[in-house]
Symmetry: C2
Subunit: 432 residues, 2 copies
Amino acid sequence: MSKLALFGGTPVVPKPRPLARVCAEYPLAQRFAEYVGAKHALAVGSGTAALVSALFGAGVTPGSEVITVAHTWFCTATSILLVNAVPVFVDVDPETFTMDPAKIEERITPRTRAILAVSLYGQPADYDAIMAVARKHQLPVIDDACQSTGAAIGDRKLGSIADVTAFSFSGKPIVSSSGGMVTTSDRSIYDRSMLGGQHPSFIATQARDEQIWSFASSGGYGHNLRIDGQCAERAYQELERLDAINDARRLNARELTERLHGVPQIRVPVVRQGAHHVFHMYTGLFDGTAVDLTRDEFVDALNAEGVWTLTYVSSANFLKTTSGEIFDAGPLHQRHLFRELARHGRCGPYQFPDGVRPDYSTGSLPVTERLATLEFNIPQRYLNPPFDRRTMDLYADAITKVLDNAGEIREERRHAGRLQRRHHFVVASESD
Amino acid sequence: MSKLALFGGTPVVPKPRPLARVCAEYPLAQRFAEYVGAKHALAVGSGTAALVSALFGAGVTPGSEVITVAHTWFCTATSILLVNAVPVFVDVDPETFTMDPAKIEERITPRTRAILAVSLYGQPADYDAIMAVARKHQLPVIDDACQSTGAAIGDRKLGSIADVTAFSFSGKPIVSSSGGMVTTSDRSIYDRSMLGGQHPSFIATQARDEQIWSFASSGGYGHNLRIDGQCAERAYQELERLDAINDARRLNARELTERLHGVPQIRVPVVRQGAHHVFHMYTGLFDGTAVDLTRDEFVDALNAEGVWTLTYVSSANFLKTTSGEIFDAGPLHQRHLFRELARHGRCGPYQFPDGVRPDYSTGSLPVTERLATLEFNIPQRYLNPPFDRRTMDLYADAITKVLDNAGEIREERRHAGRLQRRHHFVVASESD
C-alpha cells in the first residue's frame, strides 16, 4: 500500500461506486441539429427557456426593443421581459395568424435589437419576407417554433431558417414531459445562448468564445435552463417518430378541411404557399352572425358534442375566474401584466427605460384583436394518428349539428339571459 | 341527432380521445408539505426555480438588497439577480460553513428586503440566531435548503422553520431528474411564489389573492418554472424512502468521522448542536502545512485512490479551463459575473440601481475565502446506503495512505515544477 495510485500504485478502494452517467441532452441535441439541418443545438428545459436562451444568443441587451406579436402564447413576449428588454407588438396576417411582414418597419426604432416572430399552431411564419426586412435593418431574426417542430418552408425545416430558433417539447409535436431546444448555424449565437443558464461544466467545455467561457463559473447569467434528464430521453425517442406522426396529423387535418369547405360560418385553416404546416392545432375562424351564435357558444356546444375545442388566445388556454368560469384574457397586449407595464413603465421585476412606453392600447392591433374573438382550436391530440376518415367525419358532423340546431342555443340564451360557459377543460400536462 | 349534447342530447363523437391526465405535481406538493410540516408547497422545475419563486414569495422588489452568503452554489446569489435585486454577501461560520448570524446586522441597509441563508451540504443554517436578527429588522428569511431535504433543527424539519424554503431534487437527498419545491406556512407568501412562473390554469385555480390572480393570464411574471411531469413522479417515489436513505448516510458519515478523528491534517465535519445533518456532502477541511501538501494535491491523490472527492466551492463543481484543467473559480464574490457587477454596476441582463455597489472585493469575506482553499467534499453518492463500515474504513485508509506517502507527491512536484490536476470529473447528471 505504499505507492500512491496517482503514480501507478494500487487504489485503496478497488471498485469505486460508479460516477454519474452521461447526460441524455448531448445525443438529443446532436440528433435534433441533424434533423432540422442546423449546425448547433442546445437542449433546454422548456420553450420559454429556449426563447430566453435564443434572445441572449441574438445579443438582445437590457432596455432594448424586440419586435414580436401579441397573438401567441404569453411566453413569446415574457421571454423578452425576462432578459429585461421591451416587447414591441406588430399585428399579424389575418389568413395565417403569423407576423405581418408589411407592418414591421413602422415599429423599428433605434432601440430595436431583434425580431421575434412565431410559427404558430404548426405553420411557419413568413420568414422569406420577415428576413428581408430584418436584413435591410441588420436585425437578427428569432423564430418561436415552439408549436411547430417538423414544419418547413419548401424543403427548409424550421430551425434552419431564422438566425436562431426556439422549440418546445411539452405537449407539442414532440410530446415529452417538458423540455425545449435552441438551434442555430451561427457559432457565436450558439455560444451566447448558453448564457441563458447552463451548468458550469457545460459552458466550460462547450463554449469556444473566451468571453462566454468567463461566465462558466456562474452558469452564464445564473438561471438553470437545463433540460430534465428523463425528458431528454423521451424527446429523443419521440424525435424518431416525429415525421410519421406529423404526416398522419396533416392527413387528418386535410380531411377535416375538405369536409368543412362548404360550411359558410367556418373559415378553414389557410396554409401559406410553400409552407409545410404540422397542425399542432387545427385553427379555424367562426363567424356566427348569420345564425346569431357567438364563437364562445359555438365552442361550448362543440365540446359537449365530444370535439375538444379551445379558444386558445382569448382564454389564455384554460384560464378561469376564481368562481370557475372561462375568463376572456384577450391577446397579450390586453392582459394585466402588459397593461401595467404600459401604464407605469414597470411591473413586478420589470422596468422599462425612462420614456420608453410601447403602445399596448386596445385598437393598436386590429387584426389580432379580431382573430382572438373568432378563432377556435382543435388541439393536436384530437388529430393525431392514426389517419382516420371516420373520426374527421364525426368532427365535421358535430360542427354541422351545432350550426343546424343553433336555435336551441338562442332559445336557452333568451331564457337564461346569458349561457354559462361550459368548456370541459383540464389542466394541461406533459402528456397533452 | 337533433338535440344538442349541450342540452342533454347524444354527443356526435361517442368516445372522445382522453384529455390530458392530471399533473403529477399536485400529489407531490401535498405530500412534501406534510413531510416537512408546512402548510403550503409549490412544485417547481429546479432549485433555482424554487429560489426565484421564494424571493417573489418573500416580496423582494427590483433594486432592493438581499443578504446572502458567497460560500455556496452560484444559484443562491444569481436567483437574487434574476429578480433584479442585489446580492449582499456576509461571511460564514468557520465550523459549519453557514451564514454567521453575528455578521448580518452590519450589512443591513434601508434597501434590505430579505435574508437568504443556505443550509449547505445537508446541515441547517443557524436559523434560531438568524431569525432573531431578521425579526428585529422585520425582514423575511428564506432558507436555501436545496442540498438538505430531510435535515432538521431538533424536531423541526427544514421547510417549516424559515418564512419560505427552497428545495432541489436534482442529485440531492431526493434524487430525481430535475425539479424542486417551495414550502411556506404563510398563505400570502405561497400565493406570491406562484408569480415566479406557473401555468395560467394553475395560478387561476390556486391563488386566493385577487392581485395574484390578475397575473394568471401571463403565468405570473411569465417564466416557466413548472416541474417536469416525469420528474415529479420520481420525486414522489423518492420522498417515501428519503428518511431511510438519509439515516444510512448519516451512519456512514459518523463512521468515517470516527476513523478520521486522529488524523492531524483533517478537520472532520462539525455538526451544530441540535442539528440533524443529512450529509449531502461529507465536507472536511485539509491543512497540509505539516506535510507540505496542498489541498488540491491531496484531493487529486484521493481521487486516484478511488474516493471521489470534489473541491466544491473553489472549483465551482466540475469547472475546467478550455484546455481541460480544473479551474479555481473561488467563492461567488470572486467570480467573473460578480466582479463585473461590482466594477460597472451592470453585467449581461442585470443592472444595479445608481450608486448601489455592494462590496465584492477579495478580502471582504475572510472566512469564506479561507474555507474555499481548505475544504474537500465527498458527495452523497459515496456515502449512500447501505451502511457499510468496510467501505468507510477504505476511505479512511485512502486518506491515511495519501498522507503517509506525501513524499511521493513532493518528489513529483520537484521534478515537474507543478503537478497537473487530475480529478476524474464527469458532467453532473440527474442520477448523481
